[in-house]
């Protein structure tokens, strides 16, 4: 079971779409959990205008007791961890929760015309990637595998939406 949690502010349609699209990759049941409202002062860093991804993960875990399976929280605000300028997503390796941001995936941020189709694809890839971590997968060097690390959107666009052979069998082994 995979639960999708929305953390406002976030584009509703992006969340709905990713719930549908994840079925392409994951055999598990995917459901919508609803919203979690987060108090800004708990996770928001005004100087950086970003959510602290690690703190956000802690909140998500805290506010979803007793949910079985994996959780993916989606937000529209930029994320960071203290030592880095930004992260697109953060997950517990072989854990329960993951969080991702759609902020950096918009073409407009880079001065280019909006591309909804591309945006939807990028959101899906990042969602699969972070969920992959919760299933115990680490980064993969295969350029087409979705577990390949990608800090830049151009790199996200190159990789595929699914796992490579090795990652897939690793996931099966981990679930067993």
């Amino acid at each position: 079971m995979i639960s999708i949690v929305a953390i406002p502010p976030v584009n509703r349609s992006l969340v709905t779409n990713v719930k549908t699209d994840l079925a392409l990759v994951f055999p598990e049941t995917i459901r919508s959990y609803g919203n979690i409202d987060v108090h800004a002062d708990m996770v928001f860093d005004p100087s950086r205008k970003q959510f602290n991804a690690s703190l956000l993960l802690a909140i998500v875990l805290d506010q979803t007791p007793g949910i079985e399976g994996k959780i993916l929280a989606v937000t529209g605000v930029d994320l960071f961890i203290p030592v880095l300028t930004y992260v697109i997503g953060e997950a517990q390796l072989n854990g329960r929760a993951s969080v991702m941001s759609t902020f950096r995936l918009h073409e407009e941020l880079y001065g280019l015309p909006a591309n909804p189709h591309l945006l939807r694809e990028r959101v899906l890839k990042e969602a699969v990637h972070e969920l992959g971590h919760t299933f115990g997968l680490i980064h993969c060097r295969d350029p087409l595998c979705v577990m390949r690390p990608s800090a830049a959107v151009e790199e996200i666009d190159i990789k595929g939406i699914s796992f490579c052979e090795e990652c897939r069998s690793q996931r099966m082994a981990n679930s067993a």
Binding site: S54, F80, I81, P82, V83, L84, T85, Y86, V87, E90, A91, L93, H133, I138, H139, C140, R141, D142, P149, A151, A152, E166
Partner: protein
């Protein structure tokens, strides 16, 4: 395949802030690295023991010992680990200092994740490359050292000792010896033991190249320098840049070439034939001759100034007949070599045949011995090389000594018997029909040396 590779790579994070340690640890763990953390210098040095750590991320500002100071200590423990300094405060001074002390790079918090992963990847690649470089250098040293120098005689041991001792310096070496005694092998040994071993050794047989082409061979030529010169050619001096040039049969070169050679040796500069550009080359000179240069100098055939420039350090290789105890190991070595080449079984040399070989005076030295063995292997069909497989002239000559002096004949005979019996004094004396004391006296008198 990649996963396993990555799993071997390790990162240590040293930062006083817990949140930094935890986020970086998590970040690297996702990439499959083995991660270690430390909050201060003392802890870091302890964690070092759990290494090796491929990359160390070090915060500059920490309570207690600073990152800059710690870096020095960490490098002492493991000089090959790559250190990347991170800090919240960009300071040019500390950056420069860190890099001077050997840090790979310097980044400021917050770090762009793309930049950081690129950095770590490059750092690891550098480490792999320098390890590979070290391995390859060792490999080359192995390859180059494995020469064909066979021979346990005290004379050869002395030659090899001299060659190895002069190898390290850039001194010009002159190798003297009859044709076929292994002068090129010694030259290669010198090169292999020198600091120039990773660069080429360029041999030039001055005696084999026609006079008219020797200049072009040594200095190269430009396009159209003479009829037939369609392309630019680099000369041997240019190709030896960084390495060694081996001038074989240097005694054969003409008076005009001698002048040119002298100038190049003194200035390390020359121009290609038909060219204008002065070319500089950093080479070491090893030369060889089988001629009597001193005599040539006296009659004016060899320039005195060139002689003194070349004759700085001399190594003389004695002819094979002066070290007969080298003959059996050499003969066996060549049997092995050619048997393998011809895809034939390695055979023994019959005692009769070996006796002939040991007694012969070998005007062609080792090269001649090699030819004889090669020929014998082609001819022999049996399990060993017999007397009949040795060329007639040698057989004849072995029995009829080259000198008429009784003492020479006795010397050769005694040496041959000693070699045959592996220098066992009792057996040799018995074979010669004399007592041990007499044998010892004769060994002394003829200056025979035990290998």
């Amino acid at each position: 395949m990649n996963r396993k590779e990555k799993n071997k790579q390790s990162v240590m994070v040293v930062d006083d802030e817990l949140v930094v340690r935890e986020s970086l640890a998590q970040w690297f763990a996702e990439d499959g690295y083995r991660v270690g953390c430390a909050s201060n210098a003392t802890e870091a040095l302890r964690v070092m023991k759990e290494g090796p750590w491929d990359v160390i991320l070090l915060d500059i500002k920490m309570p207690g010992m600073s990152g800059l100071e710690l870096q020095k200590h960490l490098k002492q423990v493991d000089p090959s680990s790559i250190v990347i300094m991170i800090t919240a405060f960009a300071s040019v001074d500390s950056a420069v200092q860190a890099l001077k002390e050997g840090a790979f790079d310097y980044v400021t918090k917050p770090v762009d994740p793309d930049h950081l992963s690129q950095l770590v990847r490059n750092a690891l690649r550098q480490r792999t490359l320098s390890e590979e470089n070290l391995r390859l250098r060792e490999h080359i040293t192995e390859l180059v050292k494995g020469g064909e120098l066979v021979g346990d005689s005290p004379q050869m041991k002395k030659v090899i000792e001299l060659a190895t001792s002069v190898a390290r310096a850039d001194t010009t070496v002159m190798i003297r010896g009859e044709s076929g005694t292994g002068k090129e092998l010694i030259a290669r040994l010198i090169h292999a033991n020198s600091d120039r071993r990773y660069f080429p050794i360029v041999p030039v047989n001055c005696g084999a190249v026609p006079e008219s082409l020797l200049e072009s061979e040594l200095f190269g030529h430009e396009r159209g320098a003479f009829t037939g010169a369609q392309y630019r050619r680099k000369g041997k001096f240019e190709m030896a840049n960084g390495g060694t040039i081996f001038l074989d049969e240097v005694g054969t070169i003409s008076a005009q070439m001698q002048v040119q050679l002298l100038r190049v040796l003194e200035t390390k500069q020359f121009t290609r034939i038909g060219g204008n550009e002065a070319i500089t080359s950093d080479f070491r000179v090893v030369c060889a001759t089988n001629r009597d240069l001193e005599a040539a100098m006296k009659v004016g055939d060899f320039r005195e100034d060139l002689y003194y420039r070349l004759n700085v350090f001399t190594i003389s290789i004695p002819p094979l007949r002066e070290r007969r105890s080298d003959i059996p190991p050499l003969a066996e070595h060549f049997v092995q070599k050619y048997a393998v080449m011809m895809n034939k079984p390695v055979v023994e040399i019959s005692p009769d045949a070996m006796d002939l070989l040991v007694r012969y005076h070998w005007p062609g030295n080792v090269r001649e011995l090699e030819n004889v063995i090669e020929r014998a292997l082609v001819l022999t069909s049996g399990k060993s090389i017999a007397k009949e497989d040795i060329p007639f002239q040698i057989a004849q000559s072995s029995l009829k000594p080259s000198s008429e002096l009784l003492t020479d004949m006795e010397k050769i005979h005694i040496e041959s018997v000693l070699v045959k019996h592996n220098w066992n004094i009792t057996h040799s004396a018995e074979a010669l029909g004399i007592d041990r004391v007499t044998l010892y006296n004769k060994i002394n008198r003829y200056g025979l040396k035990r290998p």
